[in-house]
Structures are given as structure tokens and as C-alpha cells.
């Protein structure tokens, strides 16, 4: 349940902010100068805040579009990401956002036009080469769609730039707004899945696997390209049978030939994020598993990771064409 709304005074009259305020009018409202005043202070407990987060309506003044981290993306040469929100509606225990931010409040940026300008400029900087823009790195792209109306602005924008492509990464079923738009081969909606055990134990608040497969299926039927993201794959005693079951559940509904891309990666976090999150959730088995440190990243020991990836890859190849597969490469 949302506890209250903070809004930057300078954007109170922005049309998107006014729309949000109308929608959230029953909640207590607090004016602030800059979202960082509420979002950044250190003396906050992410775990407690996550129970009743607030919404912060703000403007992102700079750095709207950033170069994607090494290894992020689908093999393209020019990869960028942007976040119209910070933080997520869902509460996935493996998510790095819990370790990255002090606050669990959700920041909604309303100055889409500034994001749009930077997307145009970034695409222009690479002239005729394809440029990928990833949404859903610091948030779930679609989970807050009824509030943010993200697709209404960003899909037509990317469609209109010749050398731009966009991936929306999501665990949501909020596809209604996309179904009202003309489909485009330049917009890939990538759905993240974990097996049923990991979903039940680690993905708090995330819609069921079945509902997400339904949402995927509806997008495919409407002509939208979709992707599958099995990242992170989490180790547990029955991960192999659970992964086989997950693929079965997906591919009885989805024709693999219609998939744009599939990626796979095992659980990993930077050491700092791992430490912060495990301090917040000391009782969480995920953080008590046997892990090792490699180049600043905490992940499963190499032999276990190899075994997991090899197994999952082999299972995937029973369903998908090899050219659709993009492994997540993160080792230095």
C-alpha cells in the first residue's frame, strides 16, 4: 500500500504530474525541492519502507540516457538504458535495486520529453548503425503502466527514429496499453521468468507464471515481438526439474519460432550489493548459499554455475532456435 506522495515543487504544474496527482489525490501530499532529499539519505531501512513505500514525483535533470553496462543487451554494438522510474512495484529478493538504493520509495520521472530528446540525440550520434535502448534496468517497464503511461510516449518515439530499437523488460501483465497501439518490430517486450519454486520463494508480488505467459501470448497474437529472460537462474535442490517444468509451461502456450530473443544467466550481484541486501534479509536462504567472489561479483562457484547454465541451455535448445539465444556473459 502506498503511504504518501512526495512531489518536487517545481513540477507541480507539469501535465503528467497533475495527472498523477489527480490519480493519487486521496494520499497525503508533501512538497519537496528535489527527490534526492527523500530518496538518498542514508538513515533509511529499505526493508521497512518496502512494506508501505511512498511515490515521489520528480524531474530527471540530467543523465536521462546512459551507456548500458558491459555485457548488457543482445549483442548489438550500441546499447543504452534509461529509467523513467527508480525502484519497482515488486519485491524480488535477488534484485540488485535493494542494495543499490537507500530507499524503497518509487520515483516517477515525468519529464519524458527530456528523455525523448536524449534518445533522439543518442541515436543521431550513431548515424546509420542500430542503437538499442533498454528500459527496465532500474524499474519494471510496465508494472506501473496505468499510472505512468510509459508506452504511450516512448513507443511512438522509438518507432519514429530509424536506427532505434527498444527493449521493455518486465514481470508484469500490464500489456493493455500496448495492445491498443500498432505493433512494431522495433519494440521488444522481454518477460523475465524464474521457476515455480524461485517464483514462490523469491518474487514477492509478481504475477503468476501463468498470467505472464498469457500476457506474452496476447502480445504475440497482436504482432509484437517478445523475448524471454531467464535471469537470474537461482540454485535450489530441485532447480533442474523446476526449470524443465517452467519451459513446459511456457512452450505449451508460446510458439518458440515467434520469439525475438532468449537470454539466460545465473544469480549474481556485486559484492557491495550482496552485502547490503544480505544485511537487510539475514534469514534469506539465497544469501546463505555457497557463493564465491570473482572480480567484484558474488555468484555461485564456477563448477556449480557451469553445471546450471549447461543444464538450462541444453533444455532451452530443445525448444528454441539457436540463433534466438543470447547467454548473459559477465565473467571478466
Amino acid at each position: 500500500m502506498v503511504s504518501c506522495v512526495y512531489i518536487e515543487s517545481a513540477i507541480r504544474d507539469h501535465p503528467r504530474a497533475a495527472q498523477l496527482l489527480q490519480r493519487l489525490r486521496k494520499l497525503p501530499l508533501v512538497e519537496i525541492d528535489h527527490y534526492g532529499e527523500v530518496f538518498n539519505p542514508r538513515a533509511q531501512n529499505f526493508r521497512l519502507q518496502k512494506q508501505n513505500p511512498a511515490i515521489i514525483i520528480a524531474r530527471k535533470n540530467k543523465g536521462q540516457v546512459l551507456a548500458a553496462p558491459e555485457g548488457y543487451g543482445l549483442g548489438g554494438e550500441h546499447n543504452y538504458y534509461f529509467s523513467h522510474m527508480l525502484n519497482c512495484l515488486y519485491d524480488c529478493r535477488y534484485c540488485f535495486l535493494q542494495g543499490m538504493y537507500q530507499s524503497a520509495h518509487q520515483v516517477l520521472f515525468v519529464n519524458y520529453e527530456d528523455f525523448g530528446e536524449q534518445i533522439r540525440q543518442t541515436a543521431k550520434n550513431h548515424a546509420d548503425k542500430p542503437v538499442w535502448f533498454y528500459s527496465g534496468y532500474d524499474c519494471d517497464s510496465l508494472a506501473n503502466e496505468p499510472m505512468t503511461r510509459f508506452t504511450e510516449y516512448f513507443i511512438p518515439l522509438v518507432k519514429s527514429i530509424d536506427n532505434a530499437w527498444m527493449e521493455l523488460r518486465t514481470k508484469s501483465t500490464q500489456v493493455r496499453s500496448m495492445l491498443q497501439l500498432e505493433p512494431s518490430s522495433k519494440i521488444v517486450t522481454a518477460f523475465s521468468f524464474s521457476d515455480a519454486t524461485s517464483h514462490a520463494r523469491l518474487e514477492h508480488g509478481v504475477p503468476s507464471i501463468e498470467k505472464r505467459v498469457n500476457a506474452m501470448s496476447r502480445l504475440i497474437e497482436a504482432g509484437w515481438p517478445v523475448g524471454l529472460r531467464f535471469d537470474p537462474v537461482v540454485y535450489h535442490r530441485n532447480y533442474q526439474s523446476a526449470f524443465v517444468d517452467l519451459l513446459e509451461q511456457i512452450f505449451t502456450r508460446i510458439d518458440a519460432r515467434q520469439l525475438h530473443s532468449v537470454s539466460l544467466g545465473s544469480f549474481r550481484l556485486t559484492r557491495d550489493h550482496f552485502r547490503s541486501i544480505s544485511r537487510l534479509y539475514p534469514e534469506e536462504p539465497l544469501f546463505a548459499q555457497n557463493m564465491s567472489l570473482d572480480n567484484g561479483i558474488i555468484s555461485y562457484p564456477l563448477d556449480r554455475e557451469r553445471e546450471m547454465i549447461d543444464f538450462c541451455e541444453a533444455q532451452l535448445m530443445n525448444h528454441i532456435p539457436v540463433q534466438a539465444y543470447h547467454p548473459c556473459e559477465w565473467h571478466g
Binding site: 500500500m1 503511504s3 504518501c4 512526495y6 497525503p28 508533501v30 512538497e31 519537496i32 525541492d33 532529499e37 527523500v38 539519505p41 538513515a43 533509511q44 531501512n45 526493508r47 521497512l48 519502507q49 512494506q51 508501505n52 511512498a54 519454486t197 524461485s198 520463494r201 523469491l202 537461482v234 540454485y235 535450489h236 535442490r237 544480505s278 539475514p282 534469514e283 534469506e284 536462504p285 539465497l286 544469501f287 546463505a288 548459499q289 555457497n290
Partner: protein, 278 residues
């Protein structure tokens, strides 16, 4: 006297004046402590009330003084309770503060809205000197910014609240009528208690995750642990403790190990095995 002998404290009330504190002291049957000289302190089961004196510096000093005395507690919850001025609000209206601004340096603080409440919320401007130059959009007080500045050094923002009862407005002033101030606060003692209970529930969630001090001392007495080993030991023990392993049985098992490395290896094996089920 050792801090531990002072009794357990999980909730600290911070009031500027005795007349603001009196309803809390009476409601929770707190007793005056005769051991303290710096501030007047009233104690009860798991809580205390400190009377800081007027002003943000006094409030900050009281918070720091009392927090230092109870630094061994896993988590402390805080409530700043007092009266405030308002332009138009009726005398006796109780507010929970959602923004506290310091009039001297312009710094703003935002107490986290972690406790669900039906109380009205308000911003508050903390002044260094009394003023009747009321503003419509904010309460006036003289302590809240000092309280929150200091308390945030010791606890997270979710574990503190500032509650203010309107004592003065453009039409009426309670001023220095102490009995009237006590009556205004006393009228809200039940919703104030409700807020305290909410904070204590949150505080308990945090404290329950920590290792009890006596268990930690027992663990450390088993071998010589380096700083790195202590960190690892804490992580493992917090995990197993929160998975409801029998700590006494575990300690007996560990007592058979001769070195810190062997103790950590044993705990790792137990953790790895337990965590495979997710």
C-alpha cells in the same frame, strides 16, 4: 553503573517540557530516575521519557546523550512529542509531522511514513526563537529539527516520529499555561499510544533479526576471531538464528571445534545445506 544495568529500552520519548511529558509519564507509569544529572529521565518497562528543555540544541543533545547510553540496544524507536503553533488550526489538534524544516539553515527532513495512521499530517518549521508570525502551510515549533537531526544518527527514519499538538494560533495562545498544555496533550494520549505501538512493531521487526548480545559474547568466547572472521560469523549466526535453529545445541556443537576457522566451516556447512531448499 554499567549501561546494561539501567534496564532495557526500546522506545525513547523526547519532550521539551515537563508539562508536555506528563501525560506520557502518567499513562505509562514512568518513574523518575535519580541516577541522571544531565537531563530529567523517567523510566518504565522498555521505554523512557527524556525532558530536554526548550530548543533544537537541547533536543539534539538529549537524543545524543540517551542514544549513547543505550547503544547496545539492537534498535531504538523515538517519538518527539510536544506543542506547536499554527495559523488557523484549532487548539488541541494533533499532527504527525511529515516534513521538518530548520529555519536557520533551510535544511529539511522527512520522517518516513512507515506507520499507518489516521492522524492528519503537517509540515513544521523549527525556529530558534518564539514567533507569532504564523504561516498557513506549516506548524511552528522549537525542537523538531534538532530531534530528527540527532535521532537519525542512531536509528533509521522509519523508527521515529514527531507528534505535535497545536497550543497556539492566531486567535488563541496557551502560552505558558503548563496545566493547559498537559491537558491538550493528554486529550490525545490514546492515538499517541497507537502511534507508539506502530513504531514498536516496526522496531521489533528490525531487532528480531539481530543476534542477542549474550549469544554473541558466547560465540566470541569460543575462539579467537579476526575482524574478517567476526564478519563472517555474524552473517552465518544471523542466518541460522533467524531460521530458528536451536542456538544452545549449535553452541554445544561448536564448542567441540578448536579454531575460529573450524567453527566458521561448521556453520557454513549447516547454512549451505539448509539453504539448498530456498
Amino acid at each position: 553503573m554499567q549501561d546494561r544495568d539501567r534496564g532495557r529500552v526500546v522506545l525513547i520519548w523526547v519532550c521539551a517540557l515537563h508539562c508536555e511529558a506528563k501525560p506520557v509519564i502518567d499513562y505509562y507509569r514512568l518513574k523518575k530516575s535519580h541516577e541522571e544529572r544531565a537531563f530529567d529521565v523517567y523510566r518504565g518497562d522498555d521505554m523512557l521519557c527524556i525532558v530536554s528543555g526548550i530548543g533544537k540544541l537541547a533536543s539534539a543533545a538529549a537524543c545524543a546523550w540517551v542514544a549513547a547510553r543505550y547503544e547496545h540496544e539492537a534498535a531504538l524507536a523515538w517519538i518527539n512529542l510536544g506543542v506547536a503553533g499554527a495559523a488557523e488550526h484549532e487548539l488541541g489538534t494533533l499532527f504527525v509531522l511529515n516534513k521538518i524544516a530548520d529555519s536557520d539553515n533551510g535544511q529539511s527532513y522527512y520522517p518516513a511514513p512507515a506507520v499507518a495512521t489516521s492522524l492528519p499530517a503537517s509540515a513544521c518549521l523549527t525556529l530558534s526563537l518564539p514567533s507569532d508570525d504564523y504561516r498557513d502551510d506549516t506548524l511552528f515549533d522549537m525542537e523538531a529539527s534538532g530531534f530528527i537531526y540527532s535521532a537519525l544518527r542512531f536509528s533509521s527514519a522509519e523508527l521515529m516520529q514527531s507528534l505535535k499538538v497545536v497550543s497556539d494560533n492566531r486567535r488563541q495562545q496557551t502560552g505558558k499555561n503548563r496545566q493547559r498544555v498537559s491537558e491538550l496533550v493528554q486529550a490525545h494520549i490514546e492515538p499517541i499510544d497507537h502511534q507508539a505501538a506502530g513504531l514498536l512493531r516496526l522496531r521489533q521487526q528490525v531487532a528480531a533479526l539481530e543476534i542477542p548480545a549474550d549469544s554473541w559474547q558466547q560465540l566470541l568466547s569460543l575462539a579467537h576471531f579476526s575482524q574478517t572472521q567476526r564478519y563472517r560469523l555474524r552473517v552465518l549466526w544471523r542466518y541460522l538464528g533467524n531460521r530458528e535453529f536451536d542456538s544452545e545445541a549449535l553452541l554445544r556443537q561448536l564448542a567441540a571445534q578448536k579454531t575460529a576457522s573450524a567453527i566458521i566451516a561448521t556453520l557454513e556447512q549447516i547454512s549451505y545445506q539448509d539453504s539448498e531448499e530456498l
